[in-house]
Symmetry: C2
Subunit: 191 residues, 2 copies
């Protein structure tokens, strides 16, 4: 159990790979990849994602105040990575990848049609934290591909096949198998 | 690509399982499990975690303004689940699980000695979001077990063996294999 200091790093396991969808002022759909984020409230259901001011998405979010989060499956790791490499200022990322921008029913923002899970969000507030602005969005609805639903009507992770981001090695890694039921396996330790 | 609405849910893949360590007013070490969180800033390196006011950890955090985040390996899924089931008000969670509370060098908070990765955090600010309070902490240091370091001196995910939480099925699932290098595999799509 000897521990070694590796300094103040933005380390956590796992980081998600969130694809943030917004419209530009010219109506062009844009997407970016963000790993600094997570759910931040149950009621209202809300998600937080941190974005730097230099990003096109920052401008779009501040203007439109609505966004989507598309969650890619492992089949789209290359496209998701691309979304984090190039800027929407000078590139049409949908055209370059051949993926389909779909306008959300509920908010004025596009999502990635091919990705299995989509959150439709409306901005509740922003929080300034150092070089990032945290956007907190209420989740108005979640839409999932019918093909990833299990027999219980819930998304089945073995069909969604999401991946995670390792910030130390700068790699993406897949999901493993189910280990245990939550709020259940720990009961064995109750006296 | 037909999508089905499943309503406004706190869904994301993957959710982390963060074990928040604090001291009680009597100096007793306490831990709780939190899945609503993630990194929120690069400079300063900062992490956000949302906690309800009813929790013992909320009280401890408001008073001490310092905390740790321990990240469990798959070997401790049972203990991590237990930390989310019982309350520190009436239970000594370390005694019940036999795990070791270790006082952080840098902050006045305990971490779980047996867990491979630990973040030492000082509160920067709190944000009220519905029924949760989001605690944003600066990451002052990260400490990792020497046994999980790879030859490059970085934590090796195949040695850390973290797991994730599936909020739809309320299950924990493990990590899969490395898929691709980030900021690299997407370059293939650059024109």
């Amino acid at each position: 159990m000897t521990k070694q200091s590796i300094g103040p790093r933005t380390l956590l396991y796992p980081h998600p790979d969130l694809i943030i969808g917004t419209y530009g002022s010219d109506g062009r759909p844009d997407v970016m990849a963000a790993a600094w984020g997570g759910i931040c409230s149950s009621r209202p259901p809300a998600v937080a994602v941190s974005i730097q001011k230099v990003r096109q998405t920052y401008e779009n979010l501040m203007r439109e105040r609505e966004f989507t989060i598309s969650i890619p499956s492992v089949d789209y790791v290359r496209e998701a990575d691309y979304f984090g490499i190039v800027s929407g200022r000078d590139t049409d990322k949908f055209a370059a990848t051949g993926l389909t921008p779909v306008k959300s029913d509920l908010v004025n923002a596009p999502y990635v049609g091919e990705f299995p899970v989509v959150l439709e969000c409306r901005l509740l507030q922003t929080v300034e934290i150092g070089m990032h602005t945290q956007f907190i969005g209420e989740i108005l609805d979640v839409k999932v591909d019918e093909s990833v639903l299990g027999e219980d009507g819930k998304p089945d992770i073995e069909k969604v096949r999401p991946f995670a981001y390792d910030s130390m090695r700068q790699e993406y890694y897949g999901s493993g198998s189910v280990l245990a039921k939550a709020f259940s396996v720990g009961k064995e330790l109750k006296k």
